[in-house]
């Protein structure tokens, strides 16, 4: 989530934005911390509010892409200067889809929490925690993989 360089693609008709691969990973770490605390707090007012905060953080990511989130600006400002310059970039599309999933699941956690359903709260907050954990620790973006699988099965073959 840094220099959004317009890298020319094989398909010039699509406007792709390339982001530093480490950016979404940092965002996932932030998500992980918040989601973990929310899980520990449970479906209490504090826990639900925390998941709501997380949902709000996902919104710009879901609309524009991970590079537009608050976490991304923190990454660009505080983390990136301490790292080696960007060498590897990825398309923003798959990570943006992952943000959309994160938003949907956080909102569901908030809804279940607000309706006093602990089970629902834990399930959806749990999903967010596991997904952000895999991303932060193993650099594995679950949402991205789902996006790619969906694209593969819906693309018309030549």
């Amino acid at each position: 989530m840094t220099h959004e360089s317009q890298a020319p693609l094989a398909n010039p008709a699509s406007t792709d934005v390339r982001i530093d691969v480490r950016g979404p990973r940092f965002g996932a770490a932030v998500t992980l911390v918040l989601a973990l605390i929310a899980l520990l707090l449970g479906a209490t007012v504090a826990g639900v509010v925390l998941m709501a905060v997380l949902a709000v953080l996902f919104v710009p990511g879901a609309i524009v892409g991970p590079q537009a989130t608050l976490q991304a600006s923190l990454f660009k400002r505080f983390v990136l200067p301490r790292l080696a310059p960007t060498t590897e970039t990825e398309s923003f599309r798959a990570p943006r889809f992952a943000q959309q999933i994160g938003l949907a699941f956080s909102v569901l956690a908030v809804l279940f929490g607000a309706l006093d359903s602990s089970v629902g709260f834990f399930i959806f907050a749990g999903f967010v925690t596991v997904a952000s954990f895999l991303n932060a620790v193993f650099n594995f973006c679950l949402g991205c993989e789902i996006y790619l699988l969906a694209k593969r099965s819906t693309t018309r073959h030549a």
Binding site: A10, N11, E90, S91, V130, F133, L134, F140, L148, A158
Partner: protein, 144 residues
């Protein structure tokens, strides 16, 4: 509270194990026998005299640029080994011919353009070198 912490740790441990198990075969070298050879013309680029890494990538594939760099580096360490990158979303004909299910997928061609090995998922340097064993260096060509 303690129960909750233990459950969370348990779930995350399970998720970790699941991920590690799923990715254990990434980049593993598989010797294959595929009839027919692939020409440079079909590939749109010149094959290597000894061997060729044919890497199938897509624009959205995060690990593909890194794999391309790695394979080019390995190819340069050997004589007459080339690396060709194919955009699977443009060359659907090749992707279907070789059953490319995910990216990166790397086919190793021998000197005749026959597929002798393939790697699914990003390989490590040692896996890439190992895959070249399937296409051994040629003995002296043309001794008149």
């Amino acid at each position: 509270m303690l129960i909750r912490v233990l459950i969370i740790i348990g779930v995350l441990a399970l998720a970790s194990l699941g991920y590690l198990w799923m990715s254990r075969r990434d980049g593993a070298v598989r010797r294959v026998e595929v009839s027919g050879s692939v020409s440079s013309e079909t590939l749109g680029a010149t094959r290597g005299y000894r061997a060729t890494f044919v890497q199938f990538s897509t624009p959205l594939c995060a690990k593909c640029p890194g794999t391309a760099t790695l394979l080019k580096q390995v190819a340069s360490e050997y004589k007459d080994v080339a690396h060709i990158e194919i955009d699977a979303s443009e060359r659907l004909d090749l992707a279907r011919r070789f059953d490319v299910m995910r990216t990166p997928t790397i086919l190793v061609l021998d000197t005749d353009g026959v597929v002798v090995a393939r790697m699914s998922g990003a390989p490590s340097v040692s896996q890439a070198r190992e895959s070249l064993d399937a296409a051994p260096p040629l003995s002296q060509p043309y001794s008149i």
